[in-house]
């Protein structure tokens, strides 16, 4: 990590493995040997196709899924596995999550007032009823909703409004780190920017750190500082956002970037799609590890593949010049 030595590591994921099993025989590894670090104040994106393990990693960090191996360190403190009650509360106070589907992630039988105050009630983050009301009003105002909405129910809101309620509910806890699990994929295109701008506003105001999960690469390019590409439960490439879009090295990343539609019918027609096939590409599966190929740019590879990748890097740099 030569480039980022001076930055403070907020979340450190080391050799994380998450398995699901229905009996002793059927064990499915959803996440295999995941390694990445998230620095304080940055937006770290996790990109991959559905079923690749993005959400599983997020849920492992926030303790919704059990981990079977590896460590998750938050501010240097282990937060996976068995924890004391105080430590669990500490994690809940400092790490919050914004969910994918705003229609499913709000309690339909509770008023907005209760939805937003839920965390306040659990941690007694208010001195009296008036203070709680004030905090809820402020939270609603910060996401552009009105105090009159407190007595309403989630089904009365539009998708964008609901997602803003979800954001307000997480923000009222004043967390340091927020995991956003595809927060805009269930939203109408016209209100995606609204939610993303809101998230950026909070980032600037409060110095938040985001882990942003997405499968929409155009959004990630706009929003993220660094990107990790995940495929079949394994992180295959980690690089700063611009670097990844200009020099995608791993074949999977390349197919993923290629799949983004171009707003030009001529280019789009001429494009030859190369789907990624792990068998055909003969890329490292079990034996490899994440290695730095350029400063800050990591690729998952086996030792014998290093030369091949270095050749690709040289080629790319040549054409870029």
């Amino acid at each position: 990590m030569s480039v980022n030595n001076e930055k403070e590591v907020l979340l450190d994921v080391k050799h994380l493995e998450v398995t699901f099993s229905n009996s002793k025989k059927h064990v499915f590894k959803a996440v295999k040997d995941a390694n990445f670090q998230i620095y304080k104040g940055e937006t770290f994106a996790l990109v991959g196709e559905s079923g690749s393990g993005k959400t599983t990693i997020a849920r492992a960090i926030i303790r919704l899924n059990d981990t079977s191996d590896g460590e998750i360190l938050f501010r240097g403190k282990k937060i996976n596995g068995k924890l004391s009650k105080e430590d669990k509360k500490w994690v809940q106070r400092n790490i919050q999550m914004i969910f994918q589907d705003p229609a499913a992630s709000l309690n339909e039988r509770a008023t907005i007032d209760y939805c937003i105050s839920e965390g306040l009630y659990n941690f007694h983050l208010y001195t009296d009823e008036a203070d709680r009301q004030k905090k809820v009003d402020l939270a609603l105002d910060s996401v552009g909703l009105l105090p009159e909405h407190k007595s309403r129910y989630p089904h009365e809101f539009s998708g964008g409004q609901r997602q803003r309620v979800g954001i307000a509910r997480a923000m009222i806890m004043e967390p340091e780190f927020i995991i956003a699990d595809e927060p805009i994929s269930a939203l109408d295109v016209s209100i995606r920017a609204q939610v993303l701008n809101l998230m950026n506003k909070f980032k600037e105001e409060r110095g938040l750190t985001y882990m942003f999960i997405a499968h929409d690469l155009s959004v990630v390019r706009y929003f993220a500082d660094r990107i990790a590409v995940i495929h079949n439960g394994r992180i295959v490439e980690v690089a700063p956002s611009n670097e990844l879009f200009h020099f995608p090295i791993h074949p999977y990343t390349r197919s993923l970037l290629q799949a983004v539609p171009m707003p030009d019918p001529e280019i789009e027609k001429a494009k030859e799609l190369k789907p990624y096939d792990q068998e055909k590409e003969n890329k490292a599966d079990e034996t490899g590890s994440l290695q730095e190929i350029k400063p800050g740019h990591f690729i998952f590879m086996a030792e014998n593949e290093r030369e091949e990748y270095e050749a690709i890097v040289k080629e790319m740099e040549k054409t870029a010049k």
Binding site: L64, Q100, N107, E108, G119, N122, F123, H155, E156, M173
Partner: protein, 310 residues
Amino acid sequence: MSELNKDDLFTIDLSDDSESEHIAAPQYSYWRSVFRKFFSSKLAIFMMILSGIVILLAIFQPMISGYDPNVTPNINRPEMKYIRPNATYWFGTDDVGNSLFDAVWKGTATSLFVSFMATAITTVLGVAVGMWWGFSKRVDTVMIEVYNIVSNIPATLIAMILVYAIGGGVWQIIFALSVTSWVSTAYFIRVQVMIIRDREYNLASRCLGTPTWKIITHNILPYLISVIMTSVSRDVPSFISYEVFLSFIGVGLGQQYASLGRMIQQYSPYMTSTPYLFWIPVAISALISVSLYIVGQTLADASDPRTHMI
């Protein structure tokens, strides 16, 4: 081409952003919507009035008449026996010369009491255990075996053996009826809990540090109101019929109690000679079952918010 008028052009909207956030629809209130939906059904209102009258009669008529099946002042007066329904004796008199009108309402009171108590025990115990069962894996491994055993033994058999063993009093009957029935209610609730337990809004609550008991009371139970209402509206009539059935086959309440089931059993030989003795208790029993079932089902439908959309 005609010249564009200035009024035809779009102008920038300078109004406050917050105006667009305003919700114009009237305030939604869950219980108000439930009652609005319930009272929109004329049949349900009629059945509610009917069952209300039956319940009030069952509570107050025996207080006025002071009917006791063991007190038989007219037993030696043949002219008082088997009087057909008339203006004095609305439902006629029975084989010992007592007014059937008094006897029927006393019997209805007993039957309703047994049914309501058994339903209350079944529902409270079933919902409480079912919630726990749905959440805890350890409870699940034990309870699923209990359910397998209980559901494979006929409930009638258990009730019959219990009544033989502990006697035919009102509380004994309530115990015999509800001792195993709560298991199937609990299983029903367990399945419902498992369906909604892992929905995203519950995960969100977990992330916000909400303890399990609060998730149960705030996130799960409100969703199950209509399901529980359905189960209650099914249980009340079925316990009434069950009590009637047990008494009819002779293992229900003893001779000293008036109950609809015991009356039906006692008067079934009179079906051809004095049919009113048999048919009036049967009719009342059917009336209670049907009216309570329809009221319960309508209430269960009304308590499902999916029906609240106008």
